[in-house]
Amino acid sequence: MEENKLIEILDVSKDYNGHPALQNVSMHVRCGEIVGLVGENGAGKSTLLKIIMGVEALSGGSMLIRGEPYRPQSPREANTKGVGMVFQEQSLITNLTVGQNIFFGEEKYFSRFGIVNYKEMYEEAEQALCAVDVTNISPRKYVRNINFAARQMVEIAKVVNQANGCKHDNAVVLLDEPTSVLNDAEVEQLFVQMRKLAASGHAVIFVSHRLDEVLRITERIYVFKDAKNAGEFVTADTTETMLYNAMVGHSTTSEYYYTDLQRDPAEETVLEVKELSLFGLFKDVSFQLRKGEILGFCGVIGSGKEELCYALCGDLKPTAGQICLKGSPVNLRSPAVARRTGILMIPQERNIEGVIGKLSINDNINASNLQKLSKFGILSLKKLAVQAQDWIERLRIKATSGKEAVEQLSGGNMQKVVFARMLASECDVVLLNHPTRGVDVGAKNEIYRLIREMAQAGRSIILLGDTLDECIEMSNRVLVMMDGKIAGEFDAPVGHKPGNLDVIQCMM
């Protein structure tokens, strides 16, 4: 049995700046087996695939392939060891042809004296496509001219070709949510290919949010939760509910989320969104946000909740619909206009969109309300420093002084600086886009308390939680988005929080 294991993952860990993305995960895949990998966003699935592909280095543990130690430094090295992957974000180069993409990086096999023999390359590309039963895509077409489903099939053809071409008999094929852009017929076609791969002795790891698909195609399923391996299931005796339970688990306490501080919102409606749409991203989204309310948005990546958030803060321009603030319609042309009308977002990518790392804490805290602290455009440096110092103390930001550069701070303290900036701006509507992403447990707890205090002070909050638990426990009300539309609404008063299962079922 032992030699049958094609790839083994042993106690693999990975952390990003001290924030664990994977903790002691172990799994294995045998030859000719299709294994499913499921878990919430951020549970560590993609991280594990990236480690197997050599995109990321592991921080602990080891891997074996065909019983030999395996530690790829690059995707290329992984390819030579017979590991290929179809990436979640499409990785084809759109201004090259299908054939050029399939043999990208391997042009030397077709070239004589540095000149590529394209005829030969396209013939082989045609064969590679035929091998996965794709006959309607010409290898001479440019990738930018074919649709997403066709691109996905090209990616698969590319990986299968690599798998067949490597000098080992059995390859490992990783599929990271390959079905998210495919329609039913194309999914069927993909499944046929996956079964063919398995039948010829290759191992397939299949990551998907669609549990019904995972249950149909796989033989075994691993469930990841909070960067850990939360269970291994044999598909034949598994139901969707069992997977849901393992994915969500239960480790939360109401104390952690300060549920006792949750208050019922006032009657007054602050923000009203009417049939807001942004072509291709979300459609006909309507909801009301009341004063002092925390409104949670749930949904998988691609459900449109992120884009909705960016549209509400003025960064993206909706194509249809209306936003009303305190009864009057507003046109949020830019984040600056939104801030002036009273809407501000705490961005998701703290280092890229949140803090201005090279500048001081003072500069960062005051960035959103320079106008308020100035007369005729002239600033009082004293006022700036006093205000910043005030917020540093109130939020207990750990820093030697306000003049310290923000990039020197820890993730949690950086996030507190962003919160201080938002609080200083005195905006009434606050969009929290993953406010606790990548901060440690202690800082998370402080941020939860801060959110509660903001709601008590009468601010209205839209929360895009980092985890489902966070979103449900913190909110007064939860809206679930799926495929760009609001798919469900749950009231979440203290003591009657909706079950995670119900919410997740709405998401998928």
């Binding site: 201005i356 959103s368 600033l379």
Partner: protein, 321 residues
């Protein structure tokens, strides 16, 4: 005991190193002055010192604008051409408009800067490309207005007489340029616009999401740069008492050599030092008799070398967008 002294020595060495790094530009300037002085004593005579200050004044004014652009991470290649156009507009309207020609020339610079800023921010054209186009447009415009250089007539010299006032070796235009630099320093520290430019330059995306009016302040930076380029053109007309449609040509290169010379985040002190060094090299080479054709090689290399030494190769943060 021995350990402590060892540690203090280490700290001292560290402090000395940090001090030298922070003041490297100033030392380079001193070294260059001594070098040229040792090669030709005339370098530091009264006449040439005055000359140095005058050369510095025009470049410094243009560099005030270039500093803003450096801070927001953009580039304007048309500065020299705008300078030329302002120069010829100023001189050719002096006869009919008198003192108002100052305003016309400055107004032109403002318009040129605004158009570039608008194209760059609203139509999302990289500033490098947009200004490359404008550089050629303005260069032609300058030549269309005035084909060949000519001097300012006696009758109109009353309007430029103030340029002759001097205190010792320092002329009034030099003082004007230093004051302008001071104004820029205050602008960057004490105004909403100046602070916002700093925020934009360090992380434009974060500044935008924090509600900073990024487009408006970027256009403002370009507009101010247009004005400083025009001021440079006017000052050149005053000093040379003539106009020349190609007068601004070498200034773009000199200005960027000066502004990018000292690395890190831009500020006015670094600009002052950079301008000092560039002026000393430019003038010194003439004094020691280096062929003028070498100057572009020197300053072109200077830009490249200073970039190699100081570029932040973090990846995402390209200095020019």
């Amino acid at each position: 005991m021995r350990q402590t002294t060892g540690e203090t020595k280490k700290i001292n060495r560290h402090a000395v190193k940090a001090f030298l790094e922070a003041t490297a530009g100033a030392w380079a300037l001193v070294a260059l002055i001594l070098l040229f002085y040792s090669m030709n004593g005339a370098f530091l005579n009264q006449f040439n010192i005055r000359n140095l200050f005058n050369n510095m004044a025009t470049l410094l004014i243009m560099c005030c604008g270039a500093t803003l652009l450096r801070i927001i991470g953009s580039l304007d290649l048309s500065m020299g051409a705008v300078c030329s156009v302002a120069n010829v507009i100023f001189v050719s309207t002096l006869a009919s408009l008198g003192a108002a020609s100052y305003l016309v020339a400055i107004g032109f610079g403002m318009l040129a800067g605004f158009m570039l800023g608008f194209l760059h921010t609203k139509l999302k054209i990289p500033s490098f490309i947009a200004s490359l186009g404008f550089m050629n447009i303005w260069q032609s415009v300058a030549l269309l207005i005035v084909k060949t250089p000519f001097s300012i007539k006696k009758a109109q010299q009353v309007f430029i007489e103030w340029g002759k006032i001097r205190f010792g070796v320092i002329d009034l235009p030099t003082i004007f340029s230093i004051v302008l630099l001071g104004v820029f320093a205050l602008f960057l520290t004490y105004t909403v616009a100046g602070r916002s430019m700093d925020l934009i330059g360090c992380n434009e995306r974060a500044a935008r999401l924090a509600g900073v009016k990024t487009d408006r302040y970027k256009i403002l930076a370009f507009t101010i740069t247009g004005v400083t380029s025009a001021l440079c053109g006017i000052l050149l007309a005053i000093r040379l008492r003539s106009c020349d449609p190609a007068v601004g040509l070498p200034y773009t290169l000199l200005a960027y050599a000066a502004v990018f010379l000292i690395g890190g985040h831009g500020n006015v002190l670094k600009t002052l030092l950079g301008v000092g060094i560039v002026t000393v090299i430019d003038n010194g080479m003439t004094i020691i008799g280096v062929d003028a054709f070498w100057s572009r090689i020197i300053f072109g290399s200077l830009i490249i070398v200073s970039m190699i030494l100081t570029m932040d190769r973090g990846g995402r943060k390209a200095i020019v967008k």
